[in-house]
C-alpha cells in the first residue's frame, strides 16, 4: 500500500512526459505537461497523509493534533493556480506559433525561420 501510493505519482509523471515526447500537436503537448504537473500535487499530498486523521480545518471540531499535514496542502494549493496560468501562457504562445507558421505540428516546426 505504501509502495503503491508513492509509485502512482511516478507513473503519472512518466505518462505525461511520454505524451509530450510522442505528441504531434502542440496543444496536446501542453495538456500532457499539465498532467505531468499534477503528478507532483499527488505526491505531495500522499506524503502528508496521516491515517485516521481529518482535514486541518477546525471550524467545526475542537483543535486536536490528529490532522493530516497542512504544510504540503498549502504548497499544493497555490501551485495548482499558478500552474494553470503558466498553461495559459504556453497556449498563448501556441496560438502565436499557429498564426506565424500555419501549423502546430512539432515535427514541421524544426527550424526557427519559416
Amino acid at each position: 500500500m505504501s509502495h503503491l501510493a508513492y509509485l502512482i505519482p511516478g507513473w503519472i509523471l512518466l505518462v505525461g512526459v511520454y505524451g509530450i515526447v510522442t505528441s504531434r500537436n502542440l496543444v496536446h503537448a501542453v495538456v500532457c505537461l499539465s498532467v505531468a504537473q499534477s503528478a507532483t500535487y499527488v505526491l505531495l499530498l500522499v506524503i502528508g497523509y496521516r491515517r485516521h486523521a481529518t482535514a486541518p480545518v477546525f471550524s467545526d471540531i475542537k483543535p486536536t493534533g490528529d490532522v493530516v499535514d497542512p504544510i504540503v496542502q498549502a504548497l499544493t494549493l497555490t501551485d495548482i493556480v499558478v500552474g494553470a496560468t503558466v498553461t495559459a501562457l504556453l497556449l498563448a504562445l501556441t496560438v502565436q506559433v499557429a498564426k506565424r507558421r500555419g501549423t502546430v505540428d512539432p515535427d514541421r516546426l524544426r527550424s526557427l525561420e519559416p
Binding site: G19, R24, V35, S38, L77, I80, V95, V104
Partner: protein, 87 residues
C-alpha cells in the same frame, strides 16, 4: 475501508491520466482533461484536503479546458497547412 477507498482513488487517477495522454485529438482531450480534474478533486477529498480539492476542481475542470478549447478554435482559424488527422 478507508484504505480501500484511497487505493481505488489512486488507481482511478492513474487510469485517467493515461486516458488524457492517449486522447490525441485536442478537442476531445479538453473534455477528458476536465474529467481528470474532477477525479483529482475526488482523490484530494479522500486524502483529507478540502482546500486543495476546491482549488483543483475550480481550476482543472473549468478554467484550463476552457482555455484549451478557445486556443484550439483560435488555431483552426489560422491553420493554412493541411492538418494531419490529429489536428
Amino acid at each position: 475501508m478507508a484504505d480501500a477507498v484511497i487505493v481505488a482513488a489512486l488507481l482511478l487517477t492513474a487510469f485517467m491520466a493515461t486516458a488524457v495522454v492517449f486522447t490525441r485529438d485536442p478537442a476531445c482531450q479538453a473534455i477528458v482533461l476536465s474529467a481528470y480534474g474532477l477525479v483529482l478533486g475526488i482523490l484530494f477529498v479522500v486524502l483529507q484536503a478540502p482546500d486543495v480539492a476546491m482549488s483543483q476542481v475550480a481550476v482543472g475542470t473549468v478554467v484550463v479546458p476552457l482555455i484549451v478549447i478557445l486556443a484550439i478554435h483560435a488555431i483552426r482559424r489560422h491553420h493554412t497547412h493541411s492538418p494531419g488527422d490529429e489536428s
